[in-house]
Assembly symmetry: C2
DNA sequence: TATTGTTATACTCTATAACTATA
DNA sequence: TATAGTTATAGAGTATAACAATA
C-alpha cells in the first residue's frame, strides 16, 4: 500500500498533531480536564485578570465558545471572576485552581518531553520555532 | 498578555496544524471536497483496488466513518467499486475521478509550497521527517 | 472465529448569527 | 458605534457498539 501522502509536510503535520493531541488528552484524563480547559488554567495563572475574550484570542477560540469553558472551570471551583467594569470581568485561579494548574503543567511538561524524545536530538531545537512560524502573526 | 504556551512544541504543533488545515480546506473549496475526500482520491489513484478498510487504516479513519465518505465520492462519479469477493470491494478512480484527483494534487502541491515558504530554508528538509517521527509506526 | 461493510448514535470541536448591556 | 458576554444552533470530525454476510 503506497502512502503517497506520508511525505508531505502538511499531511504529516495533521497526523502528528492528531497523534499528540490524543496522547495529551489521555494524560489529562485523571484531572478530568480537556486540553482547552487545561490550557486555559495555565494561561489564566500566568495572566491574572485576563478576560474571556482575551483568553479566546490567545487560544484562537471564539468568544461564544469560551462561555461554557469558563463556566465549567468556575463550577469546578478552579477559577473565579471579578468584575472589571459593567460588561467585562477578569479571571483568576482559586487556591484549588493554582494547585490543579501546577498538576497540568507537570503533565504538559511530561508530554513535551515524550514528544521531543521522538525527534532526532540535532533537530529538536528547530522544531518549536518552525511550527510557530506556521501559525503566529 | 503572556502566551506561556506558545513556545511548547506540542502547543505549536496543534496551532500550526489547525492553521494549515483551514488554509487547505479553503483551497479545496472550489472542488467541493473536504480534506479527507481529497486525500482519499489521491490514495485511491495511487492504489487502484484498495478497499475502504485499507484506505481507512492509511488515513487513521474508522471503518464506519469511511462509509459516508466513499458513498459521497461514488455519488459524485469520482470513484467506482468492484467486488473482490463476497464481502469486500476494491476502489478505483473513474475517468472523471482521475481528472479531479489531478486538480487535487495541484492544490495540495501549492499548499505544501505555501507551508514550506514560511519555514527558514535551512530547516525545510528536516520538517517532514521530524513530523513523520511523531505519528508513524 | 475473524473480518468487511454497514447502521445508528453520541460527543467534541468549531463556526455563525443574533441579542443585551455596557463602553 | 463598537465591544463583552451570552444564547442558540449547525456542521464537521471522531468514537463505539452492534449486526449481517462472508472468509
Amino acid at each position: 500500500m503506497k502512502d503517497v501522502l506520508a511525505d508531505l509536510p502538511g499531511y504529516s503535520l495533521r497526523r502528528a498533531s492528531a497523534a499528540m493531541l490524543s496522547q495529551l488528552t489521555e494524560a489529562l484524563e485523571p484531572l478530568r480536564l480537556r486540553i482547552t480547559d487545561a490550557s486555559s488554567l495555565v494561561l489564566i495563572g500566568a495572566n491574572t485578570g485576563i478576560t474571556p475574550s482575551e483568553l479566546g484570542k490567545l487560544m484562537a477560540i471564539q468568544r461564544s465558545n469560551m462561555v461554557p469553558l469558563i463556566a465549567k472551570l468556575e463550577d469546578r471551583g478552579l477559577v473565579s471572576r471579578e468584575a472589571l467594569d459593567g460588561r467585562s470581568f477578569g479571571l483568576r485561579l482559586t487556591e484549588n485552581g493554582v494547585s490543579v494548574a501546577a498538576k497540568v503543567e507537570d503533565i504538559m511538561k511530561s508530554h513535551e518531553d515524550r514528544l521531543l524524545a521522538r525527534i532526532p536530538p540535532e533537530h529538536r531545537d528547530q522544531l518549536a520555532p518552525a511550527l510557530k512560524a506556521l501559525w503566529e502573526d
